[in-house]
Structure formats: structure tokens, C-alpha cells
């Protein structure tokens, strides 16, 4: 009898708490960002396609579905670390197919060589190239993400990627690398 009572009491308590928990989980459900959205927010949005996906969003969706997180070359180690934090995994090193050098660059059209073929315009994922057929093209440097997708299609090789220069405005207090003048 005692055993039965115990079972009944415990069982009903379990039921009660279960019901409360179930109710709470429905009632207080927090609609979080879907994982893909969160990953997308961490990606550098260069839309370069170096990960093998046509843009950052598709890669973010792929990551959410289990794709390796170390394929974003422009983001580099930092981005990998952030995604790893988000996914709760160890950050793997950058995929070895990519350059580890992810210093920011911007595309530049050598204007005297440009023949106005518009191929780069079609390649640019963020519409950062101005120009029309037979007219010299130019790059809106502020819009350029440095993805270098325009370099390949150029028939006359007139697009170069130039690193963004260090200026007093974007200098990061790297005191150890100041060019100190050596006097004799």
C-alpha cells in the first residue's frame, strides 16, 4: 500500500511538474534568430564566393546545415573563432586552400588599360563598379568589399587589388612597429 502511495504521489508530482515545464516552454518561448542568420551576421559580407558558395548568406545557411566553418578567407581566424563560439565548437584553422593573408584590400582599375567590356561589372557582387560599354570603368572604393571576383574576368588584366593603406586614422596603436629612424 505504502509503495503504491509513493508511486502515485511521485507519479502525479512528476506529471504536474512536467506539465508546468511544458507550459513554460511554450509560454516563454524565445524566438531566437535562426542559426543561419546569426552566422550570416558574423561573416564579413564580402560576397567573394571563396568558400564555394555564391555569397555569404548561402555559406551561412550551409554552415547552419553542417558545412565546415573554416572556409571564409576574408574573415580569417577572427571570423572562424566567432562562428566557433556561436556553434560551441573548437575553432579549426583556416581551410588550407585559402591564403591566410586576409589583410583588407580594395580593387583598383588601371584606367588607361580598361577597354570598357563590362565583364567586371557583371562579376561584382555589390555593384561597386561604374561604367558602361566601351566606356572606361571605375571602382567605387567605399563600396568595394575586396572580394577580387572582378580580377579574373577582366580580359586585359587591368584590375589590381591594392591593400588599404595605414593612415593615422585607422592606425591601431601598434607601438612596436613604428618605423623608428636609426641614426648612426
Amino acid at each position: 500500500m505504502t509503495t503504491l502511495m509513493a508511486i502515485i504521489v511521485l507519479g502525479s508530482m512528476a506529471l504536474l511538474f512536467g506539465a508546468i515545464l511544458g507550459f513554460a516552454s511554450v509560454k516563454f518561448h524565445v524566438e531566437g534568430d535562426p542559426l543561419a542568420e546569426q552566422v550570416d551576421a558574423l561573416l564579413p559580407q564580402t560576397q567573394c564566393g571563396q568558400c564555394g558558395y555564391p555569397g555569404c548568406k548561402p555559406y551561412a545557411e550551409a554552415v547552419a546545415n553542417g558545412e565546415a566553418i573554416n572556409k571564409c578567407a576574408p574573415g580569417g581566424e577572427d571570423t572562424i573563432k566567432k562562428i566557433a563560439d556561436l556553434m560551441g565548437v573548437e575553432p579549426p584553422p583556416l581551410d588550407e586552400n585559402h591564403d591566410t593573408d586576409n589583410s583588407p584590400t580594395v580593387a583598383f582599375i588601371i584606367e588607361e588599360d580598361c577597354i570598357g567590356c563590362t565583364k567586371c561589372i557583371q562579376a561584382c557582387p555589390v555593384d561597386a563598379i561604374l561604367g558602361t560599354t566601351k566606356q572606361m570603368h571605375t571602382i567605387i572604393a567605399d563600396e568595394c568589399t575586396g572580394c577580387d571576383l572582378c580580377v579574373e574576368p577582366c580580359p586585359v588584366d587591368c584590375i589590381v587589388m591594392i591593400p588599404i593603406a595605414k593612415t593615422p586614422q585607422n592606425w591601431q596603436w601598434d607601438l612596436n612597429n613604428i618605423p623608428v629612424v636609426q641614426l648612426d
Partner: protein, 671 residues
Amino acid sequence: MGSVIERIKRGHFWTFHGGIHPPEQKFLTTDKPIRAVSIPEQLILPLQQHIGISADLQVNVGDKVLKGQALTKSTHPMAVPIHAPTSGTITAIKNAVIAHPSGLSELCLFITPDGEDRWRERKICTDLAKLTDNDLIDKISSAGISGMGGAGFPTQVKVSTHEKIKFLIINAAECEPYITADDLLIREHSPSILDGINILDSILSPEHILIGIEDNKPEAIKVLQQTTANNEKIQVCVLPTKYPTGGEKQLIQILTGQEVPAGVLPSSLGIVMQNIATCFAIADAVINDIPLIKRVVTVSGQALQKPQNVWSLLGTPVGYLLEQCGYPNKDKKHIIMGGPMMGYSLPTDQVPVVKTTNCILAPSEIEISSPYSTGTREVECIRCGQCSDVCPAQLLPQELQWSAKAKDHQQLNKLNLFDCIECGACAYVCPSQIPLVNYYRIAKSEIRQQTQLDIKAEHAKVRFEARKERLTRDKIAREEKQRAAAAARKARMNSGTTEAKSEMSAVAQALARVKAKKAQTKVQAPINQETPTANVAQKSQVAAAIARAKAKKLAAQQNIAVEKTILVDQNTDTSKPAVDKKAKIAAAVAKAKARKFADKAHVKNVNVDDKPIDDKVEQVSNTEKTLVDKKAKIAAAVAKAKARKLAEQQAKLAATPSNEITNEKPKSEST
């Protein structure tokens, strides 16, 4: 409001949190008058010497300039012009190391003085009352005056505020150790300073003018009190010496008891602060028409034999001033621009004096053997909390330090990192000798950069999405159009009119033609002239583009197979005229240039176009032979363009018959 003034009159002030008392070391220079130094052999003038943007250059290399002549100009309020400090020649305009902690180079004007020190024409103003406020602001603006205390905020922006000003605070606190430039300036030029204050008074018309000065400058205080004795509006406020009293926010708190809310300018509280040296410069500019071309610089430090305040022309290299003050040649030079608390080390002594340079410090090694010089004596934080006890912004430096090391930007923002004024009090007292300020500065610049990147990424994302949307929209529109066209045609054909019948027969003919074309595989099908031109004309541009693309593919394939023979023919044809060497070079360059763009078939096209190239080449040989390279390039580009045109034409020809079919059955076997 009256209570604030009553309090001040009683000599009672508020206080700010924390603060430190570093050794003042002002005795080194405070007992000597300001010395005028001779004009150096070369002046280096960075285009930008203040916070904001640089103005537009007005001179060229080789120009002769007169003393006081404006070298840059701009109408932008944040752009402050610079002026020639003496007469001479512009010898270079190039990048040189500027007065910035980074030691990076920016655009500088190099002036070689002619020694005559000849002025441009000056309009000395005798009656201030005649000038309107706008005239005064214009004069301040064109004299290139920016804050001379350290930050270098354009003065005309500060004085053209529209807020109702209660307090004009003149900052003469000079709380940094060693620096005595303002002290000496007050002692020697107090009438001019008063003129400057009066000018500011007439522009801003504040209710009260407070001069904040630390009590370690008794002579300057006396002079100020005498000079301002018969002006009821001006209060000389003698403040207890404590670093950083001279910080804008701290001085406001001491004098008025108010805190400037984060992210807000003091003018919103009805307060404007000006450095006392700026007042002097304003008086000079407005009354004597002397733009900001010189300033008092404290050259101090125990490594110098004759530390003294000097009148230095802007652009004077630091090394020249040090030399004038007896700087021995040591193995290890440590030169600091600014005071010991907030100044920065210079990477070379060719850095010029700029508008914000108030001190050049050459300490001996015993004097300042900062633990931060070597960077090796940092030990772990023991959370002693001394840093937060001295922080004038009431931050928690130890927690900031951990978050900065962990790069936890979110937490740093939560701890109000950006309220740090980088005064260095925390690092000064830290027993673990952690270079706290440096951690904060790195963290700040990283956060700023990250914010920039985030904005850029968001922007890129938007543009990418917009582009994707546009492409899909175009595609849908194209398909829609095709469908509509097909439906319309079907409807017409089924309507039973004669037109429809003819159209039907046209379609039938076209189908027949296609069949015929398919049958003739060896030779390219002659183009049927009966193709309904109306239909062709109706073709949308989009369809044409598709056709072109398809045709290109087609042409490429066909060309390989079919036109090999033609290629041979053409080659034999073109080899008849004597192709000289230049033509060959031109062709080669063209080929190389076109390599990526054109496949094998296109290469052939270049050959097809040999004739126009030859024309060009003839022109070339007729003109200059030295320009061969350039001409060849042009020729190549022309060749390429022609080649592409040709390819397109061919493609069109080849594709036209299949076009109708494409319209009806988008995925027909047109290849």
C-alpha cells in the same frame, strides 16, 4: 546659477573623482622668459594639424610664398587652413612623418625660408567695435586657429555655436607636469590674452567668464588678476593642483559642478571652453592680422642643458629646437611630444612643431625610466583598485583591462571604455605596472575599426541582396515577356486571319529552314533572306543578349569544326601583303592581351582582322617609330574590339535562324 558664481567668488570649487599628483617639474622652465629662436633651414608643414579634415592645397612646388600667406583653403568648417610661417620657397610637397603617435607619414609642405621674413599685406584692425560677430568668426577661421591645448578642435566651430552660453571657461590649468608654456604666455602677454577673451566675449556673449588656473602658477595668477581687475564678468579661479584638472570635462566639473553627459558637447550645457593660448592667437589674428604661424613650446627635460620656453614657428623640426636648447648626442634618444602623462614618443627628430604642440620633452634616463618604455615589467593585475580610485572618469580600469585583453568589445562598451580620456592616471599608479592606457587605446581603435567593418558588411549585404533581387527580377521579367510574346503569337495564329496564316506559314517555313540547316552540316547555312524582319525587330534586347550568348557558344564550337578551312584561306589571303615586323609585334601584343578573353576561335578572328591592323601599322610607320609600343597597344585594343564585333556578328548570323525556336521552346536543341 548665481550660486555657482557666489561659490566661486568665495573660492569654493567642486572636485572631480580621483586624480593624481605626479612630480610637477615645472621649475625647469618657469623662471626663464620665452626665447625667440632663429628661423630654421627648413620648415615642414603638415597639411592637417588639427581634428577634422585637411583643406585644399593652394600652392605648388617652386612657388614663392610670403609670411602669413595661406597655403591651403577650404570652406568646410572642419577644415582649417595653414599659413606660411615665414617667407620662402616651397621646395617639396611630399609625405613626411607627422606629429602623431603612429609615426606615419602624411602630406607635408616643405618650405625653405629665404631669411627675409617678408610679410604679406596686413590689415591691422584698430577698432574692434566695427567688426560684426561674423567678421570676427571669419577672421578666426581664415587665420587657421584650432585649439592649442592638445586636441586641436577647430576654434571657429566652437565659437559659432548657437546655444545660449552661460559660461565661457578659459583653460589655463596646464596640469601636465613640465609644461609652462601657458604660464609664461600669461606672464608676458596678458594684455593680448585679455583682448582675445574680449573678442570671444563679444562673439559668444556669455553670462560669466571663468579663467581656471592651478595654484602652482602664482605669478601668472597675479598677472591675470591685475589684468582682469576692472572686468566684473571675468573671474580668475585659482584651483588646487591636481592632474588632470586641465581636462575639459574635469575643469567644467570643478568650476560649475556639472558633468558633461556622455556623447554631448559642453555647449549644450551652455559652456564653451577655450585654451588660454588660443585666446592669444585669436587676438593676434583679429587685431594684428597674424594667422596662427607660431606658438610657445616648452622645451624641457633634464637631458637638456638649457631647457626653456621658445617661440617656435609652426613647422620647425623638433630636432632644431632641441639643438637650440642644448641636447647632447646620446645613444638612446627619448623625445616626447606633449607632457609626460599624455604625450607620445617621437620616432625621429624631424617631426615638425604643429598647432597642438605645447611641449617637447627630452628626459634623462633617470628622470623618466618609465616601466612602459621597456614593456617587460608588467605583472598580473592584483585588483588593488588603485586605478579606479584615481580615474577622473570613474571607470573601472582593472575590469577594462581584462576585457581589453580578452577583446570583449561588448563588455568594454558596457564599461564605458569610450569615456576614458586617456589621461594616464591609472597607469601612473598601477603597482603591477600595466600599460593600461595603451590597452585601452588599442581596444578603442579595434572597436572603431570593427564598427566600420560592421557598417561596411551590412552595407555590402544590402547591396548584394539588392543586386540579387534585381537579377531575379530581370529574369522573371524576361521569362514573362517571352511567355507573353509566345502567347500573343499563338493567339494570332489561331485567330484565322490572313496575317495569322502567313505567320503560320512563316513559322512553318522557319521550321523547314531549321530542318534544312540541320541537314547541311558541312557548310554554313546561307541565311534565308525571307526571315520575317518584323519579328526580328520585335525582339527584346534581353532576347538578343541571350541569343548573343548562345551564339557565341555556337560560334565557338562551329568555328573550331567548320571554319578551320576558312582560317587557312584567310591566312593565305592576308599573307599576300607584306606583313612587316611591326605588324607582327602588334599582332603578338594583341594576341597576348586578348588571350583570356578570346578562345581559339577568337584568335582566328584577330587574324581575320589583320587588314585593319595593317592600316594602323602603316599609320604608325608613317609617324613615329619610337612610339611603336603605344601604337601597337592601341592597335591591339582596336583589333580586339573588332574581333569581338566580328565574332558577335558571326554569332548573330549563325544564331538568327534558331532564334524563333528559342522563343517558342526555350530549351530547344539549338546547338
